[in-house]
Amino acid sequence: MKTLWDLFIAFFRASNFSFGGGPAAIPLVQAEVVNKYKWLTNEEFSDILAISNSLPAPIATKLAGVIGYRVKGLLGATVAVIGVFLPTTLIVVFLGGIIINYADSPALQAMLKGVRPVVAVLLAQTAISMGIKALKDKPTWCLAIIALIIMLFFPSVHPAFLVVISMLLGYFLFKK
């Protein structure tokens, strides 16, 4: 019961304080799941992120589903996913009409402007903490740099494609 509550709270916090779309939730989920509750190691989180990223649909609910299931089965998955979407669903349905009036208000825009640099810093920190574990030698560095170049200069290449290719490459490069 305690674990289910923790799952709910963890994903409630991670999702409902993430401004700026899906990826903004990643550092927050990591903070809850790896640092605070220690349900997963950094590598396990990174692996789950990899498979989640190669499928469509919102990243926060995907992470909640997989991690909730890993921690506490189907019930865990359900509770975590509900923690992600229920609060904003209720707000949208009951207060949608009011929020429209404030969506363009200078106060909200100012708050969102304040939060953006923090989201950028949080994402950078997540990238660094994953990089420390992922980039162990020259081949892994090469893979990362090649992927980075492809993503920056050929944005039409889908990340899911890179994920699949890198797993195939990994199989041949790193298998002992």
Binding site: P23, L28, A57, V121, L123
Partner: protein
């Protein structure tokens, strides 16, 4: 009523599960379903729905699904639209996640994961970079405060191991006061 629910299910199933690339990629697909195909709302109403969704935290797709689902078929509509948005990939991922655990000792899988981790790192670098480009649009002197907020957040993370949620709340207060 049942037709509406079925249409909602199909619309959000298609929009969300063909929407590779996360939330923002899904928006035009939902628009195609809700405005053009099923004509549940006008373009202006859809823009309002996006504005509401953008003002709130969390995944964009479930917020839009809630908004449109409720408008079309009340609470059953909300449930059907959200289920269609998130369930299919969650089920696939739980199965994939089980395979990940089951074969975690296999050398082949370990090698594949060693290959994919650098790519996920690069992906996060790109996302952080794009977010930073958007955040640090320095047009006026006051915009330099975004740099101050970013440095403050980085210091909070490294020196005090601050919880990200705390940083987010503080930055919103700072944004309100400064901008």
């Amino acid at each position: 009523m049942l037709t509406d629910l079925w249409n909602l299910f199909i619309a959000f199933l298609r929009a969300s599960n063909l929407g590779f690339g996360g939330g923002p990629a899904i928006i035009p697909l939902i628009q195609a379903e809700a405005v053009e195909r099923y004509q549940w709302m006008t373009n202006t109403e859809f823009t309002d729905a996006i504005a509401v969704a953008n003002a709130l935290p969390g995944p964009i797709a479930t917020k839009i699904a809630s908004y449109i689902g409720y408008k079309v078929a009340s609470w059953p509509g909300v449930i059907v639209a959200i289920a269609a948005t998130i369930l299919p990939t969650i089920i696939i991922l739980i199965i994939l996640g089980n395979l990940l655990v089951k074969y975690s000792k296999s050398e082949g899988l370990k090698a594949m994961l060693t290959g994919v981790r650098p790519i996920i790192t690069a992906l996060l670098v790109v996302v952080a970079y794009e977010m930073a480009v958007e955040a640090f649009q320095i047009n006026e002197f006051i915009d330099f405060f975004t740099v101050v907020i970013a440095i403050g957040a980085a210091a909070g993370l490294y020196f005090w191991k601050a919880h990200p949620v705390l940083l987010i709340v503080l930055s919103m207060v700072a944004g309100y006061l400064i901008f």
